[in-house]
């Protein structure tokens, strides 16, 4: 344990952090090297040999979902807006349940390697698969920006480090374990990351509560500071819009769905989703407490994104603070890792392997995948340095776009036989563009009409999918067989 002030000097979080982080990175490196020697082909690299069970799988899904958006962005939103942001979690969990019942089992049964694989086979069109791959790469570039920006904030707050330096260290360390072991190492590392995240968050809340003087004094303080913090900072229209963005994007999130492919079977996938929701309930409640209690202790921060790192550095005991900082880095790294796996696979498997060099060997595809991961990790660093907005805003924006172009082809496409390739293409492009156009036009009048870009995007996507599919040739029966194998599924 660290020497306290009574010993003559303040406990040193930075030094403790380096010790805790050193142990953590040693474990990660060990798992990565172990996985490297067990990765022989593309199925091993992208789907961990389809060997992941429900507990590890659930922790992996939770770790993938819990990102900088949660540790930095959601804590920040609770810091800024109080309790009302918490209701958004119900949208997230609704999205998970939709995925558990109507998406995950069918995708796992299909047993592909990537989500564009599903699009290409389900709709009988390589072009639709490539389009999905391209849109995934674009949207997830934005998501990576949020993760890197959060890494920069932590580096600046805790170590006084230049954000660029912090981001490059983050990119390098994450890319190394992603490139070395693929999904197999990621899965075991993310299991550990989830345990670290849950422990750190659960331990932090009582400490903050102790310094705030307890629940009632904290509530009185926040009530008087800004009554909206304990009531409704966001109105129901905004809550619905945020929930729709997250819920619809989670139901069809490519980086989550890729993880379904690595699990043993359909039953494992469903059980893993329930485990993930369990982890997220604990994390959600803790994050709410941390955000609001940090507002009590540091009422005026220049950016809400600073709340979690200031709290970890200035308030928590060194070991707890260091653990939380490592947990924050873990959250960022696990999400960056998942996204890199998806975009790397999008480039290597869906674009390069399917369209450019179909005759490429397994070894060659794994190499292309690894190189793509490194290159694609560097692009978002530029945007993160521009700091266009707070972390959670960026996360919400990318969720809107994912929901707008992917929810309909994935969720409706898996449950409606009549959907065609042209319909899926129109739904993806139309949903994406409708969301984008509304952001620059109708979104300004949100306060009066309450219609968000994500709702417009999904509605346009759905209409285009149904109408265009009705007027185009149905997908051949052999493409549908794996997805619609029972009579009850038939139209």
């Amino acid at each position: 344990m660290d020497a306290g002030p009574a010993g003559g000097s303040a406990p040193n979080v930075t030094a403790t952090f380096f010790v805790v982080a050193g142990i953590y990175f040693a474990i990660i490196l060990g798992i990565s090297i172990w996985s490297y020697f067990r990765t022989a082909d593309e199925v091993d690299f992208i789907a961990a040999g389809r060997s992941i069970g429900p507990i590890v799988g659930g922790a992996v899904l939770a770790a993938t979902q819990i990102s900088a958006g949660t540790f930095v962005g959601t804590v920040g939103r609770h810091y800024l807006a109080g309790v009302s942001w918490w209701y958004v979690w119900f949208g997230v969990w609704a999205g998970w349940l939709v995925s558990a019942f109507w998406v995950a089992p069918k995708l796992r049964r299909f047993g592909a390697l990537t989500v564009p694989d599903y699009i290409a086979v389900r709709f009988g069109s390589k072009a639709a698969g490539a389009l999905a791959g391209a849109l995934i790469v674009i949207s997830y570039t934005v998501y990576l920006v949020a993760q890197f920006q959060a890494g920069g904030e932590i580096g600046l707050t805790v170590f006084g480090m230049r954000p660029l330096t912090a981001m490059l260290i983050l990119v390098a360390s994450t890319a190394v374990y992603t490139v070395l072991g693929g999904v197999r190492s990621s899965s075991y590392i993310e299991f550990i990351q989830t345990l670290i995240m849950v422990s750190a968050l659960v331990i932090a809340v009582p400490v903050l509560l102790h310094y705030a003087g307890g629940l009632a004094p904290a509530k009185h303080f926040l009530d008087s500071l800004d009554p909206r913090l304990t009531a409704t900072f966001y109105g129901w229209k905004e809550i619905v819009a945020f929930s729709v963005s997250f819920g619809f994007s989670i139901a069809a999130a490519p980086y989550e769905m890729t993880r379904y492919y690595s699990m043993r079977d359909e039953r494992t996938v469903r059980r893993a989703i329930y485990v993930a929701i369990g982890f997220q309930v604990v994390i959600g409640v803790s994050v709410l407490g941390i955000g609001m209690l940090t507002r009590v202790l540091f009422p005026t921060l220049s950016s809400q994104d600073l709340a979690s790192s200031v709290m970890a550095f200035e308030v928590l005991p060194p070991l707890v603070g260091a653990l939380l900082l490592v947990a924050m880095l873990s959250a960022i790294m696990s999400t960056v890792n998942s996204i890199l796996l998806v975009v790397g696979a999008g480039v290597a498997h869906d674009l390069y392997g399917k369209l450019l060099r179909p005759q490429a060997s397994q070894k060659h595809l794994v190499l292309v995948n690894r190189v793509s991961i490194f290159l694609l990790a560097l692009i978002p660093v530029y945007f993160a340095l521009q700091k266009y907005g707070d972390v959670q805003t960026i996360v919400v924006e990318q969720a809107k776009f994912i929901a707008s172009f992917f929810f309909v082809p994935v969720v409706i496409g898996l449950n409606w036989r009549r959907g065609t390739a042209a319909g899926a293409g129109a739904a993806m492009v139309g949903g994406f563009l409708a969301c984008l156009v509304w952001e620059f036009t109708g979104q300004r009048g949100f306060a009066s009409h309450g219609i968000d870009a994500v709702e417009v995007g999904i509605a346009v996507s759905l209409v285009l999918f149904v109408v265009v599919s009705r007027f185009t040739r149905p997908v051949p029966e052999q493409n549908l067989a794996v997805f619609f194998d029972s009579p009850s599924d038939r139209r």
Partner: protein, 204 residues
């Protein structure tokens, strides 16, 4: 394409400018059961007025030197919170506050302006003297360093709403328990993992 789309999507959000807390110098002199606080603030770009908020702790009494009869400075006593509103005279507002806290000193409230600090430009210093070594808590907020004269000094990047330097007289030592629980979880988790590995090996 990724580059352009990323730029377009990210241009959708923008930050809101605020006033800045340029300087906050807090001096706390502890004598027996009271803490005498002298706090000086300088805020720039604050507009017409600035509000400062401080926690009202139920187990404490707070006595202000000033009567707050000036039209430019008003004190509101709200549930759980003191709010001071200072009218701006020019773009920069400089303010000095003096008050005495008695009772439970484990958390000494500070007034925090509703203008944030700016990294690299603002300066926050908190100095606490008169505190006997045996009364210092094991874990403190914010991070303090003891100077050669025996005073405690902190220079946080952001101004906290309290100073928790004095050991509480009673209650559960939550920060200590939290610190130990990290070690217990780490050791327990490692043991559980080793047992699981042993059990799996026996099965095979």
């Amino acid at each position: 394409m990724t580059f352009l789309a990323g730029r377009v999507l990210l241009a959708l959000v923008a930050a809101v400018p605020q006033g800045t807390l340029q300087d906050a110098r807090i001096h706390i002199a502890i004598a027996g059961g009271t803490a005498r606080v002298v706090a000086r603030y300088r805020v720039t770009d604050a507009g017409d007025s600035i509000r400062l908020n401080a926690m009202r702790v139920a187990s404490q009494q707070t006595a202000f030197d000033r009567q707050f009869r000036d039209p430019w400075l008003r004190l509101d006593t709200l549930p759980g919170l003191f709010r001071l509103t200072a009218a701006g005279r020019g773009r920069a507002i400089a303010l000095e506050l003096r008050y005495t806290v008695s009772g439970d000193l484990s958390r000494i409230p500070l007034f925090v302006p509703e203008a944030p600090t700016t990294a690299g430009q603002s300066r926050v210093t908190i100095l606490v003297d008169g505190l006997a070594a045996e009364r210092v808590a094991r874990f403190v907020v914010p991070r303090f360093i003891r100077d050669p004269g025996g005073a405690w000094r902190a220079a946080p990047d952001h101004l906290p709403s309290l100073v928790a330097l004095v050991q509480p007289e009673s209650g559960v030592p939550v920060p200590e328990l939290a610190q130990w629980s990290v070690l217990l979880i780490a050791i327990g988790g490692t043991l559980a993992w080793m047992l699981a590995q042993l059990a799996a090996r026996r099965r095979t």
